[in-house]
Symmetry: C2
Subunit: 333 residues, 2 copies
């Protein structure tokens, strides 16, 4: 018997990726239901041999589904996830609403798939930067125990949604046309610029994105004391996040050993050709489910530290693909 | 009596900035001579009330000058710096040719101006990333002794020269026109992408730029054992480099104390408005002589570490302005 699956927020960038991944995947699906805000209701999307009409999201419409992927922002998740879970629907929530809730597993399948064994109807999909980092760092943590992570990010515009993506496109067209570059979505110009992640900064000086990254990695790894210092920066890239990471490990890990471990790690593609100067780039990572890892080198400023550079598609491994992996694991029982 | 000053490589991006800075400055100049390769000889540039013709560079043409700024690449510097110095001309060399030579001072005036007191005719101007970092970190080093620096960079296209700058411009125009994006200067697409700095990588896994940054900071600071781990990345920005820095200090430095120190530091402008989410950006730093410093925060993953983010114009403080500062100090005796 096939599954009944819903996607809420299907008109968004992550919702669209999830729809494509489900369509291309091998899960037996009897019924697919697509939800969005009233504004988008009535739009249609092809799915396998059907044409599916987008419905306005409502609690009672979720009942009867086996799984629903919520990807319409935190307030929608806070409203509908508990309703759906109560009606027996398993919710995979892409928002940050429940990620740090104790009884909600926060899952990157390559790291902590076993956390899926105990849930109360809601499973959280992590922040994109945390998910991408986790895939690359977890295998090294298992081998040598990571004690501290220092990370600086190069985050794509599409991490801030479709409108942010359009703004980068619009600004470079304004530049090419010799027009004044206009800002609407981001507080700073995104074309030809980089800037600190545009989320509120707390009294510690860290912004919400940086705090999420630290908290979520600790929860995914099951290491509540792991030290994390993140600096999250936007760059004028359409798609895929990159991260410059320095890890301090309990046991010294050589670059060679790390490379060998990562070559066999799930969800990782090693791109580390020193001779040809070929390393991960967001352009190469865009559209790929795997996280690209390279620039592996021993940090000369610490007796047991390793530097690396990763690129991963934040709409796929950082969001939709991770959610579909969770769905596939749950469906496989 | 006025000075006789030469600029070699005047048609390049740094040479042009140096010419403008000299023109706008208050140094008494009796004679200005402009040099470049044979290809550029004959071009003319205005300077104060004259029009100056570019000459092909030759050793004998440098004799008679008081100072020459060499900014035409390492091989030109290796050929002409010793000749000029022997003829009694003081050379300020913007290339990497002599930076690590023992008897050549490597100078960031805000840090080690006193190194100018002893030289043998050649003074080296540091790598742009090292110069910008030095201005921001030196005042904190004086206050609390920096023991380790972890830095990830966001380096502008113009750091690779005028052709690289044009390539970023050309690629975004190709994108806007719906054409195929073509690569010539950089090995990777620079528009809408980030990539590891395109200098050769040695057996340690670090590239030349990263090794320069580490070596030069140690020499400028006079701290041969200072630990530095750099990851140098190109971003699609026209002008000004940014750097995400984590410092470990011997004495714990609070964010507040660091901010106060930097507010009074020469060459630094603090941009650290947490409430308004206003921090350094390369767009704000472009065209400024000062290094912008912000995102000051205590790193929760280490008992005595401080995180910061800086942006600085690599053609000014990272090159031409630093060279002119050196010239002004020397001229002032």
């Amino acid at each position: 018997m096939g599954l009944r699956i819903g996607i809420a927020g299907v008109t968004g960038a992550v919702g669209q990726e999830a729809l494509h991944l489900l369509e291309a995947g091998s899960l037996p699906i009897d019924e697919i239901r697509l939800f969005a805000s009233a504004r988008s209701a009535g739009r249609v999307f092809p799915f396998r041999h059907q044409v599916v009409r987008v419905e306005e999201i409502r609690g009672e419409r979720l009942a009867g589904l086996d799984y629903v992927l919520l990807s319409a922002g935190s307030s929608v998740s806070r409203q509908y996830a508990p309703v759906a879970a109560k009606a027996g629907v398993v919710v995979i929530d892409n928002s940050s609403a429940f990620r740090m809730t104790d009884e909600v597993p926060l899952v990157v399948p390559e790291v902590n798939a076993k956390a899926l064994n105990r849930h109360s109807g809601i499973i959280a999909n992590p922040n994109c930067t945390a998910a991408i980092l986790s895939v690359a760092v977890w295998p090294l943590h298992q081998a040598a125990v990571v004690e501290r992570i220092v990370v600086a990010t190069y985050q794509a515009a599409s991490g801030a949604g479709a409108k942010a993506l359009s703004e980068l496109d619009a600004q470079v067209r304004q530049y090419a046309a010799g027009e004044t570059i206009r800002r609407k979505v981001f507080p700073e110009q995104i074309a030809f610029n980089v800037f600190s992640h545009n989320t509120p900064v707390d009294e510690s000086g860290f912004n919400e994105e940086e705090i999420k990254v630290a908290q979520e990695i600790r929860k995914i790894f099951g290491e509540p004391k792991l030290g994390v210092c993140a600096t999250c920066i936007r760059v004028p890239v359409f798609r895929a996040h990159s991260e410059a990471i320095v890890l301090e490990t309990r046991r010294k890990l050589s670059a060679e050993e790390a490379r060998e471990i990562l070559r066999h790690a799930p969800g990782v593609t090693v791109v580390d050709d020193r001779k040809a100067n070929r390393f991960p780039t967001p352009l190469d990572a865009a559209g790929k489910r795997e996280v690209l890892v390279g620039r592996l080198r021993e940090d000369p400023s610490h007796p047991r530290a390793l530097a690396l550079f990763v690129s991963g598609d934040q709409l796929l491994k950082g969001a939709a693909w991770n959610a579909i992996q969770i769905l596939e694991r749950l469906a496989a029982g």
